[in-house]
Amino acid sequence: MPVADRSKPTFYLLLAPLLLWLVTLIILPHVGMFIVSLREKVGVREYETSFANYAVFFNEPLYWNTFARTAYMSIAATVLTLLIGFPIAYYIAKLTRGRSKTTLFLMCLIPFWVSELVRTFGWMILLRETGIFSNLLQYVGLADAPVEMLYNDAAIMVGLVYTSMLFMVVPLVTTLDSLDDSLIEAGYDLGASGVAILREIVIPHAMPGIVSGCIVVFMLSLGNYLTPILLGGKDSLWFTGLIYSQFITRFNWELGSAFGFLLLALSSVIVFLGLKLTRQSLGKTMGQA
């Protein structure tokens, strides 16, 4: 923007906080984590540079099974969130207007201002053996004994989808809002079926929103710690749980760093592939989110 103050001192004064923040809190810590992950402990306070920690990961089935499980559960959660959220976003963006539109949009937002812990706690009360659903089932006669619905993969999935719904619905509403209604009407006038319009007009237009929603939801699921721990119980392992136990319980920072780096690599690769496949850029999709 040409009107701006282009003088050197101002520029450096503005650049300094950005660099200080990025270098000391984002770049150096991640480089440091990578270096620590390459350290192999060979004695008391003695280290050698090697890929030994990564070898531990690939040689222990529990570790890479958990890694793969975290990845595919996160992908499943992303797909489910998209399938559930899309019709809602379409309804808000295209089938309502004025005050009811604002109200519905706000109703989508409010649950997500509330702490994730509180939301997860709510699901625990609903799903546990002495919880609401179990009692409801007994009351209507569909079950004769308390039913435990917590501590399984379905419970984790419910928690993940619930937690990330907003991050799918909001970008979808934004992109669908910008789609001109007359394009859809023109499609109908030209004799296209609902499915064809969805495939040829609505989805291509909503693509930036779909991609940005999917990226955020996938990231949030992959990096989630609370939901798998609280809703999944002791046996359902999540990769962040492994990282936590290496760091805090076992104090094996070298292996923990290697795990952290692997999770970061996995998420980066999937985000990168997602952006490439849909020909979107990070700046374009995330900058407006």
Binding site: F11, L22, I26, I84, S115, D181, E185, I229, Y244
Partner: protein, 284 residues
Amino acid sequence: MITGIPQSGAFKWTYRAYVALFFLFLALPLVTVCVFAFNDSVFPSLPWEGFTWAWFFGDEAPYIGVFHERPILRSIVTSGIVAFWVALLSVAVGTCNAFLFVRHDFPGKGILYILMLLPLIIPGIILGISILVFSSSVANTLEDATGLWFDGLRPGLILVVLGQFSFITTFATLVISARLQKFDPALEEAALNLGATRWGAVRAITLPFLYPAMGAAAVVAVLMSFENFNTTLMLVGSDAPLTITMFDRLKLGSTPVLNAVSLLLIVLSAVLGLVSLLMQRRGD
């Protein structure tokens, strides 16, 4: 609203039912948490034993209400202190970033912009451990070199603030940049023509234009800080913020005092969230 497109009644009603079910799904856990804050039982579950205020005001075991629970009250204060510093730092840096990215062209701008967005796609727990590892190694090096202790670099509130600041700044930058982009530069030029200095013009014209966005960013920062769990978990020392305290209780299975805290949190976040929305809209 799209009109003039024929749709069968059955389809319309199915669609509406689906939307209604969806909002029920959204509301259900929160309503449940709130309702059980008033159940006169020591477990947050059925059966319903009658209405009570004890989980807010009770002072006799096992009915200890929020307002008599020292550890919870203390962790709320801790969360408040952390949120204050996170909001202050991230709005300050976010405002600088907004001016830098909106108003300056320089080599490497594209790369810096991508780097600025990165915290959005780094899992919180990774941000936490990388800062933990880095600050510990800095502390070790400094302690070996000087023989002094550097407590600020060990897990504790300072690291919690820095950890939350590391990603909340990105959100602050995006909120404030969006507003700065709408600013009409002619206003600043007019001030300059009337004899204002550069800084004087920014302070008198541009910053007041940005205040609503800065306020909204601060509220968002407070909300995100208050509810952050993953990053905080890795950096927390002996003073635990509210989410960590609640998590420890939740694992052990606590009384409905957690429901009471949650209810207060829900009300507070709903109010703050609406305030932030209003602030963002005020200038638009």
